[in-house]
Amino acid sequence: MAASSREHVLSLYRLLLKESEKFPSYNYRTYALRRVRDAFRENRTVEDPEVVKELLNRARDSLALIQRQVCVGKMYEIQKTVVEQEEEKSA
């Protein structure tokens, strides 16, 4: 049970990061990635199964939210910011 739950958490984490990468807006993208990472890091040591269940539900809701907002963002795309060009150049 614990092993599958850990895998479950990790797969949710990876999914959240994968979806967050898709935000067209620089600020939303960086914020989502940062927030997801920090939130999972913060709750790493939580043991209580009820709390874990609640957090996972929130994570799933967040995933759906990110997917919807990525769609909305893609519908109304605009130019890139000055900082993104530098990122692309260095990448």
């Binding site: 914020y31 939210l65 907002q69 605009i78 993104e84």
Partner: protein, 427 residues
């Protein structure tokens, strides 16, 4: 009525300085930078003007969209499901706003922005500060025309008000004190708790414009003894066009309605409540409450990074406002010996707010005692990243260095000439 003309003249000159400070700076900027829209392939500037407005948090937009698309009922319709679901959403939003500031939901009135309100009372003396937002100052001027007497308290050099001076200014016929929690230009945090207690002890209503503070620092209306509070949606990553006014119920604060009509919002602000907007405001408040600590930590780290980098690379930079009693996300820096207009022109790749400020205005003669100095306001918010701060800092440092090399004042300072000893001749 008695001393209206005299008081208005006196207060007009005092008021003129503060509203002039704000509008003067803005008009200076507008004439120099030609406003134009970005080209299609041009890169967007970074957004570092979070005090002016904030982008909507995706979570807020997500909460609002259903009410723009499907749940379009009027919350005041009592006879069908469309109305009921809209009303439920409105009341939920009311609770979210109330929870953020420690109020009761019945004490929240939704408005169309952070507007100041009019008060009618037997006592007709009002105290405010010279550094209030323009809308508060303008409202005060209108109140003066209606017969109120307004005192504009000056602030100390660090931007904070003097509590002792406030205490002395409060008179038996003072009905209201209005002081903003966090100043939007320099980011100083006024001692709201002490002011609230002082006002309560003297039986004076206390209004605070908390548009910049709500959701960024913990505020509790009961701890701080606040009677009225203005909240603006678009300063806390919510939608534009909506705000809230907190009106205390115990002890009861009586105010006149701003908009008359159908009697909505306890009769204080009539007009159909815009459900999608208030849902957005409620969501923004709930998110702000959850993220308060995290945001504050991030913003503090970034602000320190910005200030440290600039101060270590270029000398003669002044941060305006008290260094401790402040909100870190509003960094207002003045660069000495730099020609203002040129720095303004060079700011097009980062969205910043800038302007001139006047120091030491002589009220009686109308002379400018000191030279104007030029400030740049860096706004850091929830979405600001390390890269944005680094980019901004690098570019600013480059520009300031370049402009200083061209500045004759800078040359003189480098040679060790004391500028105060120079006799400036007039042409």
């Amino acid at each position: 009525v008695m001393n209206r003309t005299l008081s208005r003249k006196l207060l007009g000159s005092m008021c003129g300085i503060s509203s002039r400070r704000l509008s003067f700076a803005q008009s200076a900027v507008n004439t120099l930078i030609k406003s134009r829209e970005l080209e299609k392939d041009e890169l967007r500037p970074l957004y570092m003007d979070f005090q002016a407005t904030t982008p909507m948090d995706p979570r807020v937009l997500d909460a609002m969209l259903p009410y723009q698309v499907n749940y379009y009922g009027n919350p005041h319709s009592r006879t069908h499901a469309y109305g009921w679901e809209s009303e439920t959403a409105m009341e939920k939003a009311r609770k979210q706003v109330a929870d953020l500031i420690g109020a009761d939901p019945r004490e929240i009135v939704f408005t169309s922005g952070g507007v100041a309100r009019f008060y009618k009372a037997k006592k007709n003396h009002i105290i405010t500060t010279q550094t209030e937002h323009k809308c508060v100052l303008d409202s005060c001027r209108i109140l003066e025309a209606e017969g109120f007497e307004v005192t504009y308290l000056p602030v100390k050099n660090n931007g904070l008000i003097d509590l002792k001076q406030l205490q002395e200014t409060i008179r038996p016929d003072t009905s209201l004190v209005s002081i903003m929690t966090i100043n939007n230009e320099i980011g100083v945090k006024q001692p709201i708790k002490e002011i609230g207690h002082l006002c309560r002890s003297k039986n004076v209503f206390f209004h605070t414009d908390a548009a910049q503070a709500v959701g960024k620092i913990p505020i509790n209306v009961n701890d701080c003894k606040v009677d009225l509070m203005s909240i603006s949606g678009h300063k806390i990553y919510g939608p534009k066009g909506v705000g809230a006014l907190y009106v205390r119920r115990r002890p009861r604060v009586r105010i006149e309605p701003l908009q008359n009509g159908g009697g909505q919002e306890r009769g204080l602000r009539s007009g159909t409540v815009p459900t999608p907007l208030v849902v957005g405001l409620g969501a923004a408040c709930e998110i702000a409450q959850q993220e308060l600590e995290y945001d504050h930590k991030c913003v503090t780290v970034l602000a320190n990074r910005l200030v440290q980098k600039i101060v270590s690379e270029i000398p003669d930079v002044v941060m305006n406002g008290d260094p401790d009693q402040r909100y870190p996300g509003c960094v207002n820096l003045s660069f000495a010996y730099v020609e203002g207009e040129s720095l303004l022109m060079a700011l097009k790749d980062v969205a910043l707010s800038s302007g001139r400020s006047v120091k030491d205005y002589n009220y009686t003669t109308g002379d400018l005692m000191h030279m104007t100095f030029f400030f740049v306001r860096f706004g850091i918010g929830r979405f600001t990243t390390d890269e944005e701060v680094d980019y901004t800092v690098e570019k600013r440092i480059q520009q300031v260095k370049r402009l200083r090399e061209m500045s004759p004042l800078w040359e003189m300072v480098q040679e060790g000439i004391d500028l105060k000893s120079i006799k400036w001749t007039q042409h």
